[in-house]
């Protein structure tokens, strides 16, 4: 009977093409607006490493100006980065299962079989745990051992994109390239990896793309590489040499730790507090104590990636969908009641209320599916327009707001589920109502 009812649904649509188009349009528009806002919200609020939500913590300490808060909007928060010396000290702790200290650097790269000319590559000087801590996937090879951080050993991990540029995508592990005029041996090539938002370093925008090369942290001081990310200072102090830069109270390094349980978290918190007390006694950390271990989800909220505006927008879009669906209910009721005489005939010929309900529900289902498909198309067009609108707004070499408009599988599944569930819900009452009509009354009016 399902196929029969679907055939009847198509005939019914042909009977009232204008009304059908109106209903499909209303559903599609509501769905499209919802999917667009949800796609943006999903991109902006999604924790890209949710499976480590209770293990990964951003480490921050408030070493800022005693007379001026770092962020006037959030005076309770420490600066999002740390001084090099504080991060270096905390990195010595063996309490965390993994720990990462890092910063973004500029680099010039040359070499590779493609005989590339020297080109600029955004890189990251980091400690060894970066790859394991953030579950970074490798296409070839692996990261380096902790010992390579201090040597430092001339080893490098490059992105899939950079490997494509230098070696045409072939396995380049073991090959040498020149990185900032120093020869490095490639030990790993990443798979395509782009966590959105880029939670581990939000200083250049939440939708900045990951770096294309990774070297042991020790290369920063060795090659005297200044931060290519954010570097903020608050007090007048000499910054003429790299050593002075490292010893300064400027904040320019990111630090993350992986703490597997509450016990290790408490121990590391105590470790930080102890360090803070010693430094405070020595005249540093003039502000009140803000030694913070922040899990990724809270980190994204603290850093303003997930804003209330986005939530309000999602709420409004759902309200708009509700309006569209209420209109659809009205149109469906009008359409079904208009066909009450035919329903009366069907009842006289043996259709039960259940059959009539099912027939109309399938008609609503076909309508919902059509609305879902059209809604999906409209969403794609809408996101493309947002993409075009923000084409000039770029935070990194690629990315920026445009990364928000990526139409992923999750969005498609959401759109389809949303359309079908919402429209079926909207169609339940009209379908039920038509089944309850007394057939005899409408037989006379036929």
């Amino acid at each position: 009977m399902t196929a029969y009812y679907m055939r009847l649904a198509l005939k019914s649509f042909r009977r009232n093409p204008g009304l059908t188009a109106l209903m499909v349009g209303a559903i599609a528009l509501g769905i499209a607006v919802c999917v667009m806002t949800m796609t943006v919200f999903h991109a902006m609020s999604g924790n890209p490493i949710w499976w480590k939500g209770d293990r990964l913590y951003a480490v921050t300490m408030d070493s800022w100006d005693p007379n001026d808060v770092y962020d006037p909007l959030h005076p309770e928060l420490a600066p999002p980065m740390m001084t090099y010396k504080d991060a270096k000290f905390l990195s010595q702790s063996n309490i965390p299962e993994r720990k990462v200290m890092m910063y973004k650097v500029n680099s010039i790269v040359t070499g590779g079989t493609a005989e590339r000319r020297p080109h600029h590559v955004i890189s990251r000087a980091t400690t060894a745990d970066f790859f394991a801590m953030f579950d970074v996937p490798f296409q070839y090879g692996s990261g380096w051992a902790a010992a390579a951080d201090e040597g430092p050993e001339p080893v490098i991990v490059i992105s899939q994109k950079e490997n494509q540029t230098l070696f045409g995508g072939s396995n380049s592990v073991g090959r040498n390239i020149m990185w900032n005029n120093t020869q490095f041996r490639i030990i790993g090539v990443l798979k395509d990896w782009s966590p959105q938002p880029k939670f581990y370093d939000l200083n250049n925008g939440p939708f900045d793309v990951p770096e294309d090369a990774y070297v042991p942290l020790g290369w920063g001081p060795s090659l005297q590489l200044l931060s290519a990310g954010s570097s903020n200072c608050w007090k007048p102090e000499p910054l003429d040499t790299f050593q002075e830069y490292m010893n300064s109270d400027c904040v320019w390094t990111e630090m993350w730790v992986e703490l597997p349980n509450a016990q290790s978290r408490e121990r590391f918190q105590s470790f930080m507090d102890g360090y803070w007390s010693d430094q405070h006694a020595a005249g540093r950390f003039p502000r009140s104590r803000r030694n913070q271990l922040t899990p990724v989800g809270q980190w994204l909220i603290n850093q303003g990636v997930v804003q209330n505006d986005n939530r309000v927008l999602v709420g409004l879009s759902f309200a708009f969908l509700a309006v569209c669906l209420i209109n659809t209910i009205g149109l469906l009721l009008a359409k079904f009641l208009n066909g009450a005489a035919i329903t009366g005939v069907r009842r006289a010929l043996g259709a039960s209320r259940r059959e009539v309900f099912l027939q109309h529900l399938i008609e609503v289902g076909v309508l919902a599916s059509t609305g879902a498909v059209l809604g999906l198309v409209l969403s794609a067009v809408g996101l493309w327009l947002v993409h075009a609108l923000y084409a000039s707004v770029r935070f990194g070499e690629r990315g920026g707001f445009q990364e928000l408009t990526h139409f992923d599988t999750t969005s498609v599944i959401w759109a389809v589920i949303l359309a079908i569930v919402a429209t079926l819900a909207a169609g339940l009452y009209p379908a039920w109502r038509i089944g309850r009509l007394p057939p005899a009354v409408y037989l006379k009016s036929q």
Binding site: Y4, K11, R14, A348, L349, G350, S352, L443
Partner: protein
């Protein structure tokens, strides 16, 4: 057999109660052709709707082909209606966007018959009413008489025990009306019980029995000798 005993049907609004049927008792034997006559508003159509299980009743008993229908669920009533009863309406009541074949197919669909079985029944029914060559036509492409013949084909395709006809010739000219009545007589002679509601005494005279309804009650029973009840 259709057997009603003291059936009462009341329509209620906020202000008034209308007794459409009161103590209505009637028995129609298998194979009979009964005409129900009466003035407008007398309760003829209400009787037909109750008899056809399209409406419930408040009091009395009603059994259809030996089955007590009082208290049956909507599913059971629909099933019984589909199996035992064929309807013919004054306004034909064909579904305008289905072709002739699909119109006749409707009651068979609800009976969940196999496609081959349905096809055979539809072909036979349309053959009987003389419209086998018009299966792809839409109702709007047929004359009134032809449309009523399609409605008759739809009513008999499921091989029901009873045909309930509500003014089946009311919208037809006399020639067409005569053709339809001939067809109904032919169907009755094949064993189907027919209850015909009509205003027309000429048509009523062609039935075996005439039941006259006034104010929701049977006022008179007449037997006509023109036709013999088939054995």
């Amino acid at each position: 057999m259709l057997k009603m005993h003291n059936v009462g049907k009341v329509y209620r609004t906020d202000l008034i109660e209308t007794h459409a049927l009161r103590d209505f008792s009637l028995e129609v034997a298998a194979g009979e052709f009964v005409a129900v006559t009466g003035p407008s508003g007398s309760g003829k159509t209400t009787f037909l709707n109750v008899a056809g299980l399209l409406e419930t009743f408040e009091s009395g008993q009603y059994s259809l082909d030996g089955k007590d229908v009082r208290g049956l669920s909507d599913d059971a009533r629909s099933h019984l209606r589909n199996e035992k009863i064929g309807f013919i309406f004054q306004g034909f009541n064909l579904i305008p966007d289905l072709n002739i074949y699909d119109n006749v197919d409707v009651p068979l669909r609800y009976r969940r018959l196999k496609q081959s079985d349905r096809h055979e029944r539809i072909s036979s029914a349309l053959e009987l009413v003389g419209l086998a060559s018009r299966v792809k036509h839409m109702p709007s492409q047929l004359s009134g008489g032809q449309q009523q013949r399609v409605a008759i084909a739809r009513a008999i395709a499921g091989d029901p025990a009873f045909l309930l006809a509500d003014e089946p010739t009311g919208n037809l000219d006399s020639l067409m009306a005569r053709q339809v009545m001939d067809l109904l007589e032919q169907i009755n002679e094949m064993g189907t019980t027919i209850v015909l509601v009509t205003h027309d005494p000429e048509l009523a005279r062609r039935a075996h029995r005439n039941v006259h309804v006034v104010d929701g009650q049977i006022s008179d029973l007449k037997s006509y000798e023109q036709r013999a009840v088939p054995a």
